[in-house]
Symmetry: none
Subunit: 401 residues, 2 copies
């Protein structure tokens, strides 16, 4: 019996709503040892007010020492064991551009490359052609037709695109065609099980037709295919928790990840303020709200400590609007840390705050790394946050008599 089995067995219907406010990459580091982190530097009177009445702790995204990408980082927060539920690279790329995959799809990451006159790759990234130029080439590939399947070709960024093959009986056990070096031609797509033979054959046919179409392109005159992946098999929020769940996010990647969990994508917000507008409007219609704030991560990735501090202060300003809705359980957390000092995601655990009538208030008075260390939630793996959310919202029954 695992934690999902427990949730399925113990879930109870209830009125209590849950808000999971994810400030991407909010955890940080002091620029010099002993200094303050971005979150500790920011003026956050509203979050500190919540810390006083709530309970805090440190969320370990995957396992100690492991830095997550956005995929596993969010899967953990969403309550999926990130070491068990692996989203294939093609499916993650499709999620990243907001492509809604179906059960019949295989998604593949495509790279334009340059080949020489004898067909050997001379540049694996086609000179990193600009995104708009690449999008034009992608449009040409939409002329490709293969009987029995539907094809979708979507631009990503620079030399990258997504190919989705939709049809019956398509496995995803197909090897990459990128030889990972120059001076050799792209590989044939090799299938690893019978289910995937058809997929490989279609990929080969796509490649052959594409090669003709691309023949006269100055740089993007060929392509490689990588990360063949079906939509991940994940039980939905409805099944696991009995929750009608909404995703409120600006960026396609997070919408894609939320849709894998069966969340509905609500509104089309483009700013944090619009996200909270959306939350207010949708309040009566859902039990659970995932609200995603991107810019704490972005400024961390930029290595810009001061701007990350400002983004945290922006977040703090909208907190009273969320509290005013009186969620039974409000969680403030991040999917990982993104210290400006490192200008990248990191392995450090994430300050996590739960506000609820059932919270056992701890002694912490500020939302931040230093306080979270001795908070009442202790140090816990992110995948246990959803059980804690359900418990604090009064939506779980008792295990055993």
């Amino acid at each position: 019996m695992d934690i999902h089995d427990l949730m399925i067995n113990l879930q109870e219907s209830g009125e209590g709503k849950i808000v999971l406010l994810v400030s991407d990459g909010i955890g940080g580091l002091p620029l010099a040892p002993g200094g303050l982190t971005e979150l500790e530097t920011a003026k956050t009177p509203n979050l500190d007010g919540l810390a006083k009445i709530g309970v805090q702790g440190l969320s370990i995204p995957i396992k100690p020492g492991i830095t997550p990408g956005s995929g596993p980082g969010h899967l953990g927060l969403f309550g999926y064991d990130p070491l068990k539920y692996i989203i294939g690279r093609g499916a993650l790329e499709a999620a990243g551009i907001g492509f809604a995959m179906t059960e019949n799809d295989v998604a593949i990451r495509g790279n334009f490359c340059t080949i020489d006159s004898v067909g050997n790759i001379s540049d694996r990234r086609a000179g990193r052609i600009p995104s708009d130029e690449s999008a034009n080439v992608v449009a040409k590939l939409r002329a490709i037709k293969i009987s029995g399947v539907e094809l979708f070709v979507e631009p990503v960024k620079e030399h990258r695109f997504v190919l989705v093959i939709r049809g019956e009986g398509l496995g995803d056990a197909v090897a990459d065609t990128d030889p990972q070096r120059t001076g050799v031609p792209p590989l044939d797509p090799v299938w690893h099980n019978d289910n995937s033979k058809k997929t490989a054959e279609i990929a080969k046919e796509f490649f052959n037709q594409a090669k003709k179409i691309l023949a006269n392109e100055p740089k993007a005159n060929c392509l490689t295919l990588r990360g063949f992946a079906k939509k991940p098999h994940m039980p939905s929020y409805r099944e696991i928790y009995g929750l009608k769940a909404a995703c409120i996010a600006v960026y396609p990647m997070y919408k894609g990840l939320a849709s894998f969990a069966g969340m509905e994508l609500v509104g089309k917000p483009t700013t944090l303020t619009e996200e909270i507008d959306t939350l207010e409007k949708a309040w009566q219609d859902y039990d659970f709200f995932f609200v995603h704030f991107k810019y704490t991560d972005s400024r961390g990735e930029d290595g810009n400590f001061d701007e990350k501090v400002k983004m945290i202060e922006e977040l703090d300003k909208v907190v009273p609007r969320i509290s005013a809705l009186k969620p039974a359980c409000l969680i403030v957390t991040g999917d990982h840390s993104t210290p400006a000092k490192m200008a990248s995601h990191s392995f450090h655990p994430v300050p996590t705050l739960i506000v609820s009538d059932l919270a056992r208030t701890d002694a912490t008075e500020h939302y931040g790394e230093r306080d979270a260390v001795y908070g009442g939630l202790g140090h816990f793996e992110a995948m246990y946050l959803m059980p804690l959310a359900m418990a604090h919202a009064g939506r779980l029954g008792k295990f055993g008599a």
Copy 2:
């Protein structure tokens, strides 16, 4: 290799005695955020004295967010993975009335019900007949004889009773006969594997004979059978830890749970004082003592904050008598929290204190939720308490060279 394998391999004989003092449901909540819990409100000079010389932490009964019943709550404390060792409902009910099951038994929860003239259930609980009336009806059922097996019928409370079938080759994969609704007759007992066919046939024969006996009862004129369960397969304390273990408890449920772990039931105490008398008398005869105090849970379940505080103060008064016996390792904990604010078991972790010459004393000075958060034991799953007890009693060897 799991934690039981480690214990089996590393256990060493020794003189050091272990006392596991379980104050049922001792953990709590403040009535308003930021206030004091029951345990923090209680005047507990003796427990606080132990906190100063011992080491504290928070025990997570099952997993974060999960509220345990008494069964899984105690199994965790006893060192069994509560998600692996599941006690069937019939066996738990039998334990609850102190029935000593053998390997040849299948225990079943019985409900008296009322059927109408055509045999359909009109009341699934037979009007919740009073316990003494129910006991009289149970006595009549003892006339039932079925060749090849021994039958035990024992009253529980109101319309509930326990049926135990004792015999060779009895499986417990038999479905409930309670249709969970009125207007239909009780279901036949359906077996799910060949081992359980005999059990189902005996249950059917019991039902047929019982129906005749009960025909003229005004309310309890029929019955349903639920939760068919054999005694759980659990390695004993002797096997896992090499401990001769005693259970000192007032209530049958806890005696039953302890007997599943192979503990001997010592004395017949009816009060906390008598429990400690029993402990003193049995001190030379056992290595391990589970002492159970019920009333912290009872008053929590009543939603009575002040009375729960008083019960904790009662507990505190007997602590010097336990310390005077000089156990090598004294543990004070609970099987779960029962906040008066919720008037029910809860998911909150439980303040847990270990006193031992080998304890690495921490900075905590009061036994309670707020101090336990930053205690030296950290936040740990209850199933690791027994390994900690063994270690603090000097009863575990080194793992590996």
